[in-house]
C-alpha cells in the first residue's frame, strides 16, 4: 500500500515536468529568419538590420487559396535600426508578434556602406550569437543589403533560397568563391587579415524573366575584397576566376577561348584541377612560383578546321586555354599587388607555412613588401575528352 502511494506521488510529481522547460519554443511563436542583411546608415542608430522572414501560412495554403484574393508572398522583409546589431535585433523584436529565430539563417549580406566602414563592429555580434551558425553563407553587395533582400527572384518562392542556389552554382562553376562565416573569420584572423566575399548585385537586364519586377535581377559574378575588415575593392569577372585558381578551387570552371588564332569560340570545362603556390626566398627577394594544373573536357567549339580527333589539335586548344588561364591568374595577382594592395591571393600565408623564419622578418612590413613580390605562373591543361561528340557536325567542318 505504501509503495502504491509513493508511486502515485512520483507520478503526480512528473506532471510538474510536463509543462516543459524554460526554453520551450513553439514553432508558431517563431519568426524564422532565412536571410539577414546589415547596412550602415547615417544618424545616431547606424546599423540597419534587414531580415527576410519565412511567411508561415504561404507555404501551407498553396493549392487551396487559388483565387482567394491577392497572391500571398512566401516571405516578409522587415528592417529596423539600432546602435549595434544586437540592439537592432531587440528593437526589431518589439515590432513583431513573434520571436526572431536565427538558427535557420542561411545567408548574411553586408551592404556597401557597412563594408566600407568596416565589418569589425558586426562580426562579434554574429559570432557570439548562439543561434547563428558558422556555416552561414556570407555575401557583400555593392548596393544596400536592404534592397537585395526585398527583391524576389524568379522561379524561387523564397528569394534568399534562390540566392543560396545561385551561390551554390557559382561555387560549382568556380567563378566566385563560396565563403561561410567560419572561413571569413579565419581569413580575418589569418596572416594578412585579408578576406573576400562573393558580391551580390542587382543588375538591369534587358531580357529579364517576367514577374521579376522592374527588370532587375540578382546576380553573383564578382568578388569583393576586404582588407582589415574594410571593403577595398571589387574584382572583375575574370579576376574572380583567377582567384578561384589561386585558392585552389578551379573545379567546374568554364574556360572560354575566344579564338585568338582567327578560329571560332571554344569552351572547356575544368574537371579537376590543382594549384600549387611555392614560395622561394633568395638574396634578391621573395618570389612565388604558381603552378596550375588541370584536366578538362570540351564543352563547345565553333572552331573551323580543327579536327578534334587529332591529338595535335587538342594540344592547340590546350595551349590556348593555358594562355587564357595564365593571363587570368596574372591579372588577379597584379591587381592584388598594385591595384588593391591587399594580399588576398595568399602569398603571405604560403610564405609563413614554408619559411616561418623568413616570414618573421617580413611580417610587420609585409604590406610594403607584398607589391614587390615577383611571381611566375605556369599552367598545364590536359584535355581528357571531347564530350559526347568529336567534331562539330557542321557540313564541311574538318575538311578545310
Amino acid at each position: 500500500m505504501r509503495r502504491a502511494i509513493a508511486f502515485g506521488l512520483v507520478l503526480l510529481m512528473t506532471l510538474l515536468l510536463t509543462s516543459g522547460c524554460w526554453d520551450y519554443r513553439e514553432t508558431d511563436q517563431l519568426a524564422i529568419v532565412y536571410a539577414l542583411g546589415l547596412d550602415r546608415i547615417p544618424g545616431s542608430d547606424p546599423i540597419l538590420l534587414t531580415v527576410q522572414v519565412v511567411t508561415p501560412a504561404a507555404g501551407t495554403s498553396m493549392g487551396a487559396s487559388a483565387g482567394a484574393g491577392a497572391e500571398s508572398k512566401a516571405f516578409t522583409t522587415i528592417s529596423g535600426t539600432g546602435k549595434s546589431v544586437f540592439d537592432a535585433i531587440s528593437r526589431l523584436g518589439r515590432k513583431l508578434p513573434r520571436r526572431l529565430y536565427f538558427a535557420h539563417t542561411k545567408i548574411i549580406i553586408f551592404g556597401r556602406t557597412l563594408a566600407e566602414a568596416g565589418l569589425g563592429d558586426v562580426m562579434d555580434a554574429l559570432n557570439r550569437n548562439p543561434e547563428i551558425r558558422r556555416t552561414t553563407l556570407m555575401f557583400a553587395t555593392d548596393g544596400s543589403a536592404n534592397q537585395i533582400l526585398a527583391k524576389s527572384t524568379p522561379l524561387e518562392r523564397l528569394p534568399a533560397k534562390g540566392l543560396e542556389m545561385i551561390a551554390e552554382k557559382a561555387k560549382r562553376n568556380a567563378f566566385v568563391p563560396e565563403v561561410n562565416l567560419n572561413a571569413l573569420n579565419c581569413r580575418f584572423d589569418g596572416v594578412p587579415g585579408v578576406a573576400f566575399l562573393p558580391l551580390v548585385q542587382l543588375v538591369k537586364d534587358p531580357g529579364s524573366p517576367s514577374g521579376s519586377g522592374a527588370g532587375e535581377n540578382l546576380t553573383i559574378s564578382r568578388t569583393a575584397i576586404f582588407a582589415k575588415q574594410h571593403l577595398v575593392g571589387i574584382l572583375t569577372r575574370d579576376e574572380s576566376k583567377g582567384l578561384m585558381w589561386l585558392i585552389n578551387r578551379p573545379q567546374g570552371q568554364n574556360v572560354t577561348l575566344d579564338g585568338a588564332g582567327g578560329a571560332g569560340v571554344s569552351a572547356l570545362r575544368i574537371l579537376a584541377g590543382q594549384t600549387n603556390i611555392v614560395p622561394q626566398v633568395s638574396e634578391n627577394g621573395i618570389s612565388m612560383e604558381i603552378t596550375c594544373s588541370a584536366r578538362a573536357n570540351v564543352r563547345e567549339t565553333e572552331t573551323v578546321g580543327l579536327d578534334l580527333n587529332d591529338p595535335a589539335s587538342l594540344k592547340k586548344l590546350e595551349h590556348e586555354a593555358e594562355q587564357v588561364i595564365t593571363k587570368q591568374v596574372e591579372t588577379t595577382i597584379t591587381d592584388a599587388e598594385t591595384g588593391l594592395d591587399a594580399d588576398f591571393v595568399g602569398f603571405g600565408r604560403q610564405l609563413r607555412a614554408e619559411y616561418p623564419a623568413e616570414w618573421k622578418q617580413v611580417e610587420t612590413s609585409w604590406k610594403d613588401i607584398f607589391p614587390s613580390v615577383r611571381f611566375e605562373v605556369v599552367c598545364h591543361i590536359e584535355i581528357v575528352n571531347t564530350g559526347v561528340m568529336n567534331n562539330p557536325s557542321r557540313p564541311g567542318a574538318g575538311k578545310e
Binding site: 522547460c21 524554460w22 556555416t135 584572423d189 614554408e354
Partner: protein
C-alpha cells in the same frame, strides 16, 4: 512490563555493540566498496573520466598556450602521463588491495597518513565540482539559455550522486556502453568536418621553437592526470597486475581523441578562433554539414558528452566518498554520497561569481593544484615508502 522493556533494550544494546566491535575487528581488511570490476571496465572508466574532462577543458586552453603546436603537446602529455601511470601502477602493486588513501596511512602512520590521505578525496571533490559546473555552463549557454543555471547543475549532481551511490560496478558498466559510443561518435564527427578543414591553418609547426610545445605539455598532463583516480580502481579490479596495461590502452585512446579534437579544431577554425571558444568540440559539431541533409547534429554530440560527463562526475563523487569512508573507518561509503554531492554543488554554485573567475581558476589554479596532487604527492608517497621501507601486506 517495565522489566520486559528494559530487558529488550539491553539486548538491543548488546547486539548493536556486538556488531560494532565486529565491524571494528574487520576494519582494515574490508573495503566499504564490495564491487569488482574487470580490466576492460577499468580501461573504459579511465577513458571516460580523462576524455570527458579533457574534451571540455583542454582544446581552447591548450591552443591559447601552445598555438598551432597544441596537438603535439597532447602527445607530449600522453608520454608524461604514461610515466606517471607506471608510478601509480607500481604503488598499487606494492600495496596490494589498498588505494592511495589506505597506503598513505600505511606509509605515514595513523595521523600524518590521514592528513595526507584526505588530500586525494578532496581533490576529486574539487575536480568534480569545477568540471560539472563547466559542463552545466556549456549546456546553459549553448542549448538552454533561459533555463536557470542552477537547475541544470542540480539535476546533473542528482544523477551523478544517484549513480555513485549504486557503486563502482554500475558506473563501470555504464562506461562500457558510453565509452565506445563516445569514441566512435567523436571519430565520426572528425571525419565529417574534414571538408571544412584547411591543413594550411596547422602550418608551420614549431614556428616559435619548442617553447610553446613545452608550455602546453604540463597543461595536458594536469587534465590527463585525473587518471590518478586509477589508484582507487586498482584494489577493486579483479586483476590488479593488468592495471598498467588497461591504463595504457585508456590513455592512448584518450590521447587519440583529444589530440584529434585539438588538431581538427585548429584546422577548421584557426588558432585565433579556437582559443576564444568556450567549447571547440561543440563548435566542430556545429560545422558538420553534408549537403542539406546531414546537419545540426550537435545535439547528439552534446547528449553523449553530457552522459559521459555525468558518469565521470559520479566516479569522482564515488572516489571522494569511498576515500573519506576509509579515512574515518566507516563500513559503507553510501551515506556520504549525497552530502558529498551537496558539498560539491555548493562549491560549484558559490565559489565563482562569474565565468571570468571560473576560467581563471581552470586555466591557472587548477593545473598547478592538479600537478601537485597527481605528480607531487604521489612521488612524495613513493619516496616515503622507499625511505621507510614500507610495503603492503597481502
Amino acid at each position: 512490563m517495565r522489566r520486559e522493556i528494559t530487558g529488550r533494550l539491553q539486548e538491543d544494546c548488546r547486539r548493536i555493540s556486538g556488531e560494532f566491535s565486529e565491524q571494528i575487528a574487520k576494519e582494515g581488511e574490508q573495503m566499504p566498496e564490495k564491487g569488482i570490476i574487470n580490466s576492460k571496465q577499468f580501461a573504459w572508466l579511465l577513458f571516460i573520466i580523462i576524455t570527458s574532462v579533457s574534451t571540455s577543458q583542454i582544446p581552447a586552453m591548450l591552443v591559447a598556450a601552445a598555438g598551432r603546436d597544441a596537438w603535439l603537446s597532447v602527445l607530449g602529455g600522453w608520454f608524461i602521463n604514461i610515466l606517471v601511470a607506471a608510478l601509480y601502477a607500481y604503488m598499487g602493486l606494492r600495496f596490494p588491495g589498498e588505494n592511495f588513501v589506505q597506503y598513505s596511512m600505511t606509509i605515514l602512520g595513523k595521523y600524518l597518513g590521514r592528513i595526507v590521505g584526505v588530500i586525494f578525496p578532496l581533490f576529486f571533490l574539487l575536480a568534480c565540482a569545477t568540471f560539472l559546473r563547466g559542463l552545466s555552463r556549456l549546456v546553459n549557454i549553448a542549448f538552454l539559455p533561459d533555463t536557470p543555471y542552477e537547475v541544470i547543475l542540480v539535476s546533473n549532481f542528482l544523477v551523478s550522486a544517484y549513480i555513485a551511490r549504486k557503486g563502482i560496478e554500475v558506473s563501470a558498466r555504464m562506461t562500457e556502453v558510453l565509452g565506445p559510443l563516445f569514441f566512435v561518435s567523436g571519430i565520426a564527427l572528425f571525419l565529417m568536418v574534414i571538408p571544412s578543414m584547411d591543413m594550411s591553418r596547422l602550418k608551420p609547426q614549431f614556428a616559435d621553437g619548442v617553447l610553446p610545445f613545452l608550455k602546453g605539455t604540463p597543461l595536458v598532463q594536469a587534465f590527463f592526470g585525473l587518471c590518478v583516480i586509477m589508484a582507487m580502481f586498482i584494489p577493486v579490479c579483479n586483476r590488479p597486475e593488468k592495471a598498467f596495461q588497461a591504463k595504457f590502452a585508456a590513455i592512448s585512446i584518450g590521447t587519440l581523441f583529444v589530440g584529434m579534437l585539438t588538431a581538427f579544431g585548429t584546422g577548421v577554425f584557426g588558432v585565433e578562433q579556437v582559443k576564444n571558444m568556450y567549447s571547440p568540440g561543440l563548435m566542430l559539431a556545429r560545422m558538420v554539414h553534408f549537403g542539406t541533409y546531414l546537419e545540426r547534429i550537435e545535439i547528439l554530440w552534446m547528449v553523449i558528452l553530457v552522459g559521459a560527463s555525468i558518469v565521470a562526475g559520479a566516479i569522482m563523487l564515488w572516489a571522494f566518498s569511498l576515500g573519506i569512508a576509509q579515512l574515518v573507518g566507516l563500513q559503507s561509503y553510501q551515506p556520504l554520497v549525497y552530502p558529498a554531492a551537496l558539498l560539491a554543488l555548493m562549491f560549484g554554485l558559490v565559489s565563482f561569481p562569474g565565468s571570468g573567475e571560473q576560467s581563471k581558476f581552470t586555466h591557472y589554479t587548477f593545473p598547478l593544484l592538479a600537478l601537485g596532487v597527481e605528480v607531487g604527492l604521489e612521488m612524495f608517497l613513493l619516496l616515503a615508502a622507499l625511505v621507510f621501507g614500507k610495503r603492503g601486506s597481502a
